[in-house]
Symmetry: D2
Subunit: 363 residues, 4 copies
């Protein structure tokens, strides 16, 4: 209700602040006897961590995590599974200069309007540091989904005006991770990197687009009419910091097509019912149809600039805001594991939701 | 959990099938002593109804509604408010020919995969007829929001490849309703109408884009971190039939901008804190900032064509599917009140959610 | 959130008022392809209906029901299942004399305090007529539970000071229904009937105690720590009108026992693990243990008396309240199917909740 | 859904195991800018802690707590408030002897039946140690309620067969805490203490009854029809370990009364509408009526005995279970702050739930 939980059965609740003691997550509803892979959880957290390259913020966090509850040995017990990631390089004092100022396009003003108080230490909950908890929980969900053959792979399609071409597909993780910007096409990756460096040197920032492709999803997941699978994917992804748009399958481009071109014809194959095209993006009527699920998310450019900006303070006075601190000129590469995590959380939840009622009366 | 409810406090549950007895909605959580406007509810239902023009399906529904509970006189009592819209022109027998066939890009296959049974009568719950209930509930939400000065106005921005230009804004309802396609720009409206007629005569269909602008929203609505206001708007709108994409503010275009151009500078005005641009679309950090909320939704072309299509049946055999029945060549104009209704439901809910805790300790 | 829904997966929402158009319920989350038994639903409603004997209110309701949605033939589709029971013998005008008066121990004053408006027509939602919807939904849940071998049987243990002795057990339905007061012990039943008649003739009313025994529940249902099976049974039953107490197994009597006498020893039997006594009432640590579930509920005497009472009106003035209208001198016999219905709803929900995660990793 | 959360708006999620790293709670939905009283939270935890007297388990826990998130200075920020209580005297090895044995009336068998795995370290989540988290969260709720004038006071009414007489009322905290068994009547307290010592020396255990009285609750809290205030109080209290019964107001005794004696007459007083008796226990129609709320809870005797018991092991073999370890012969005195905490959580939640919609249209 207060917005820090996500999911109905595989339900995560995140807590903690960017420059407080740390970031945590409780997963309530993870099935029992799941064999966790601690090094995988760690590697997922490292994909998101700050300080991973010259293109990202220089805040240094090793993202070492601790499991506080819910696990015996490396096996889940069915009890709430809590993961805690202590902040190692928090610098709350770095934010003294913005304590009474509303940074443009940040959440300073809106948090103050809502709560009458604002955690000025790196924006508290409004910081993308909160997403470390999502990535940790998403790693647990990925372990669970993998046991069912479901794989999730995201990558950067666009940075600023530099974009990959071609249809979205699931790229091998190694090819994505080989790129500093997580774009699996080497030429585009190089252009994106150059563009980020150019803009960083201007003290400016860039947005971009992430695509995420999910394979191995059985037909039948998603709950009509409001909790359609893509509506929950959309909500989950739109809840990531800086995300301003979401589409599935043909998305906005599909609005310009005619039905005869857009419809996906069904065929019977050795692997079951399939469609010859996939403009639906793997979801029809809100329910997965067994094809690849293909989603895309638009991220605005980061609000923090290394430039002086004019704004106002709490008293309504105009002030000049100096550009300083440790920030990413473009968060899109680091957002890839976050998008994947939100997809994993949605699918894990819908898998269990479906399981509750599926084939109660045997077919 | 089974997906037919939406909202946390202002919570709606829809029920009923396209070619069953009717469509209904229970609103649980409407404040007491709200003065309903029955003719307004009726007019909203008529904006969505089939048979309203030569461009829409010829199914004839007057959409007369009955209030089953929750109202004394025309005042809400705080009890669950139930609205029932009987189906007057249902023709379940029209669907006999598709009882065992999976229509391309319909929900036939996925419902069968999920439930092991399919309501073949006009697709049952998968039909957009379900959205009549949303429009009825949305009308109640609009009455509630109006009492707070909040107004919601949608319109068609694009049909197929024909699109309006210019920034999104709230148009007077009369200018939107004056257009058969609900596009407030007369020239574009005429082109859209011609395009729909052209495609209809081919037995084909079209998609499009709807914009919706919400004014009068106070700063402070939305619950970080998962239930951000735009994430819930996104989920609500993506749960509408045929919707494949959602964006707020700068959306996908914003991904190509630089931060220095995208940031919305704050200024102090007589009406309070405002921003000089609104790339944020009225939401920052997931919380409304007092500016206009601007969202857009992409709709794919209708799946039902008046053309013969190849597909398969339940046994996996290839079959030819004849194009027949009563359908819209382009549902986008009729989806405008549905998009508005989902926005109204999200805002009514977040208004009450915020109210629960806001200023518990007085400022 | 506004309190008219119950259950997480098998989720019911009731609506309608005592002297309005009727009473309804939406069940969202019923598994698909369940074969309903319409005559059973009808017979359950008739067990609760007014006018069934000389001991009950003379309001005449046939309790004919109509299924508005969610069923094809007599099979559930997985869509929301809505049942509507029109009021046939409503007399809203009967309540004019209490429109401005607070009847003692009724909900008149509290509804007005909460909502600022009160549905004076037979108390609206506060009337036990709302429970007709619960019985209808409970009948669907019973059909579902029976397919798993789970049976629920309630009966009246005590009326006023007249009580059965002996341990609680599941009595054959016919023996319970053979008694006008639903007490399966003929001698006690006769005394109870005499006591109700005596008190009715005084214009007074009586309370009592219902026991309910559930057989066939597999071990493993219930979700620690807050949603323990007996905590949800308790909540469901305490939400029935006039219920003031709930206990499971040894209950309040168990508080006076020593642990060595109270502990239930485990033994291995051909039917699996059992206990030789059942002071636990079938639930240990909040989870069913495979033994009979035994609960009891205390009901206060009906508030409406056929006597003159002193009270106050809305303006705080003392007034005399005349005893008139159609009411039960003792509702306990009619509450038996309601208690059973709430047990059925809780078990159906917990069965599906357990199913969502049970043996995700095979044992 | 998985049962470790409680409340709709003021929502707590507990995590941690009895002999794991510690016990924690996330409160999501606490209003912002509440001034916490850390020494009060500490004192509440100490009221529940083990090792507080010769009558309780000798496990030594100082119950020092740490706030992990949600607080700036001593003020809540509106973000999730997390409290962590590290285990200081855990001895997981103490449970090796019961790793494969089902202790009578413990949750060993049911957890294994449900999850296929059991946290043998002191029963993990099934241990009453989990309730430390509830007491911590309840202390925050009490701070919030106190700012509204609501006070909660519990005490022990009965231990085994030794019981206080007289109507329930709110006793001064000092008088309750002056008694080792938390019974404010000195003579009864002495008898209870003697009874516990007698039974402890036999290696046996005792149950009892706790009464809890809540003052200052405004009329209007509670959500009909399922979330009646006393139904939620009942659920919350029944979810406490070893609780087998709950009643409000007249409870089970009320079942034997006649309506003319049970009805609570309304009168107008200088402090508003009151009733001259309070058999309703402060709740009518599921909504608070402004009178004292009076509830009672029955606790069974502790399952762990210092006696040898016969039971079975996982393979179904009969075994002898030795009595050893650190345990309370009677947990009822330590359960008083837990009962109070659950009442505080229910009231805090219902206060915020009511606030969401109350007087949306001004009266």
């Amino acid at each position: 209700m207060a917005g820090n939980s996500f999911g109905e059965i595989f339900r995560v609740t995140t807590f903690g602040e960017s420059h407080g003691k740390g970031i945590g997550v409780v997963i309530d509803g993870c099935p029992a006897r799941l064999q966790l892979d601690m090094s995988f959880i760690q590697s997922e957290l490292r994909r998101r961590r700050p300080g991973q390259s010259a293109l990202t913020t220089q805040r240094q966090e090793t993202e070492e995590f601790e499991i506080l509850s819910g696990v015996l040995g490396e096996q889940t017990t069915g009890a709430p599974l809590t993961i805690w990631i202590a902040n190692r390089d928090a610098r709350p004092a770095d934010y003294t200069h913005v304590a009474t100022t509303y940074r443009p396009s940040h959440a300073d003003y809106t948090y103050e309007a809502k709560y009458g108080i604002r955690d000025v230490r790196g924006s508290g909950r409004a910081s993308a540091r909160e997403t470390a908890a999502r990535v940790a929980a998403g790693a647990v969900a990925k372990v669970m989904l993998r046991s069912m053959g479901i794989e999730i792979g995201g990558y950067v399609r666009q940075v600023g005006t530099v974009a990959m071409t071609g249809a979205d597909r699931q790229w091998p993780l190694a090819e994505v991770e080989a790129s500093l910007v997580r774009c699996p096409d080497p030429a585009t990756s190089a252009s994106m990197q150059a563009e980020i460096e150019r803009v960083r040197d201007l003290g400016d920032s860039l947005g971009g687009v992430i695509a995420c492709v999910i394979t191995g999803v059985p037909a039948g997941l998603g709950e009509p009419v409001f909790d359609r699978l893509h509506a929950d994917l959309g909500k989950g992804i739109l809840s990531i910091n800086a995300c301003k748009g979401f589409e599935i399958g043909s998305g906005f481009a599909g609005a310009a097509m005619q039905g005869s071109a857009h419809n996906d014809p069904f065929v019977q194959t050795d692997e079951g019912v399939r469609t010859t095209t996939n403009h639906s993006g793997g979801v029809q009527g809100g329910i997965s149809n067994g094809m690849e699920i293909i989603v895309r998310a638009a991220f605005k450019p980061v609000s923090t600039l290394m430039q002086t900006q004019r704004t106002i303070d709490q008293s309504g006075q105009e002030v000049e805001l100096e550009g300083k601190g440790r920030h990413d000129p473009c968060v899109v590469p680091r957002a890839v594991p976050i998008v994947e995590a939100m997809c994993a959380l949605v699918l894990a939840d819908h898998l269990l939701r479906h399981r509750a009622r599926a084939d109660f009366i045997s077919r």
